[in-house]
């Protein structure tokens, strides 16, 4: 036993370790997140620029198919002159949200190998993904709406400032909801399937192919609990010069997003040790 030298730190108190300043930590985190965004871009879209092109084409095509289907059955736009514009304002907003939250759900597992580098934390990978998807959807929306405007199916947006705000709010809601889901999935991975089923009706209850204000008050009372409905309404207010909404409350989706994000981040911290 002569060579047992395990030092007992008990009672000695934590050793003095120099802490990094907030500014140092912030630059470090920004550096890591930006590197991750570059890496994720490369990993998501592959080597060729075709990869990115596909990411833009797929949602565009799904809106186009829907528009064609609905115009074939002879439906008119529930608001404004263009069916395409009306659907797009709904569908692209919903897709942006589901894509963000969906991609975040698997973030802990997908990036496990990255945690070899202790400088990268789970929260960095969450933010990097959100930034990448937001950038992609920004491109998709700009291309799509510019296309509609060029084809004479839409006017220039009436309140561009509002569009910027609703875009950011959608990203926030996706980030918050996605983070909470990521934490739940890390504890119980069956949640992934259940969540898919639970959010399927979002397509019908988010005001995508109707004007929520024209629904009976009873229906409005229920639907207004859905934060995505508010985002869709908000987007339309930003795009159409004369769209009016009796349900819209802009603070609601922002509040839900913020609260979910706080819960998600707290959960990430709380269950960090169980993930390893």
């Amino acid at each position: 036993m002569g060579h047992r030298h395990i030092v007992d730190l008990l009672g000695a108190g934590p050793p003095h370790v120099r802490q990094m300043t907030t500014a140092e930590l912030l630059t470090l985190q920004i550096r890591v997140i930006l590197s991750l965004v570059l890496r994720e871009t490369r990993a998501t879209f592959g080597t060729s620029s075709f990869g990115y092109l596909w990411a833009v084409i797929t949602p565009t095509a799904s809106v186009a198919v829907l528009v064609i289907l609905f115009s074939m059955v002879g439906r008119h736009a529930p608001f404004g002159a263009s069916l395409a514009l009306f659907f797009a304002t709904g569908i692209l907003t919903l897709q942006f949200f589901t894509e963000t939250s969906g991609k975040l759900m698997t973030v802990f597992d997908a990036n496990k190998a990255l945690l070899t580098y202790p400088i990268i934390k789970d929260v960095d990978t969450i933010l990097a993904r959100t930034i990448l998807i937001s950038a992609t959807y920004l491109v998709i929306m700009v291309i799509f709406y510019a296309g509609l405007i060029a084809a004479g199916m839409a006017q220039l947006p009436a309140r561009p400032g509002q569009l910027v705000l609703v875009f950011l709010s959608t990203a926030l809601l996706g980030l918050g909801y996605g983070t909470v889901n990521a934490v739940i999935v890390s504890l119980w991975d069956t949640w992934m399937q259940i969540e898919k089923v639970l959010t399927r009706p979002l397509f019908f209850i988010s005001g995508i192919f109707y004007v929520p204000s024209q629904l009976p008050t009873r229906a409005q009372d229920y639907l207004q609990w859905n934060p995505i409905l508010h985002l869709v309404e908000w987007f339309r207010i930003g795009f159409y010069p004369n769209y009016s909404s009796s349900v819209l409350d802009k603070t609601y989706p922002v509040l839900v997003g913020t609260v979910l994000l706080l819960i998600g981040l707290a959960g990430e911290r709380l269950f960090r040790r169980t993930r390893f």
Partner: protein, 215 residues
């Protein structure tokens, strides 16, 4: 300062509870090269990940005031669909290094030639290890954590790594996991023996090796 303060690490996998470290308090001696030995599954690699901060302990604290490398093992952390070059750039970016300097260094050191422009998944494990080793040597750390990596490549490559390594050792410290008594003897001057959750420190590396062999 690199220290464990009442660190426990317990894995719970499918109802099986595995205690890797149990309430360990230990200050790693400064300016000494520490070996970590033990049988397979004794928790050597876990200890490395705890030291690096890649993984949190179940309870207790790991104190780290030095620039500690990531655990250098066989290619963990590389993205298989990205090329060697892209992986190098990524790691140098997150560590705030001059990307071009690191690329030049690794190119020269790892001797992978045009393969650097191919996805990592096409690499042999030897190539991956050379890339990982070269990459970590390009970045200056105060403590290098090395997990069974020195014995890669052919004789020429090994000679080269040894030379670079000796150079690094002048200013840095290493903590090394290895099963090879010869490697341990060459690089380390003291060590820890992990055995069924118990940890013993040996001031002399020869004593460590004797104890390891009698396990």
């Amino acid at each position: 300062m690199l220290a464990f303060d009442r660190v426990s690490k317990i894995y719970n996998l499918k109802g099986v509870r595995k205690v890797i470290l149990d309430d360990l308090s230990f200050v790693f001696p400064e300016n000494r090269n520490v070996a970590i030995m033990g049988k397979n599954g004794a928790g050597k690699s876990t200890m490395m990940r705890l030291l690096a901060g890649s993984e949190p302990p179940t309870s207790g604290h790991v104190y780290r005031s030095l620039r500690v490398s990531w655990p250098l093992g066989f290619a963990g952390g590389f993205n298989g669909s990205m090329t060697g070059l892209e992986n190098i750039r990524f790691v140098s970016r997150i560590y705030g290094q001059d990307t071009e300097r690191v690329v030049t260094y690794v190119k020269e050191f790892a001797e992978l030639g045009p393969s650097l422009r191919l996805p990592i998944k096409t690499y042999s494990s030897g190539m991956k290890a050379r890339l990982a080793f070269g990459l970590s040597m390009a970045i200056n750390f105060q403590v290098y954590l090395i997990d069974e990596i020195t014995a890669v490549g052919d004789e020429t490559f090994r000679k080269k790594s040894r030379a670079v390594f000796q150079e690094k050792l002048k200013s840095s410290q290493i903590i090394m996991v290895s099963h090879s008594a010869a490697t341990i003897q060459e690089y380390c001057d003291c060590g820890l023996l992990l055995n069924a959750g118990g940890v013993t420190f040996y001031d002399e590396v020869t004593e460590l090796i004797t104890a390891y062999k009698s396990l």
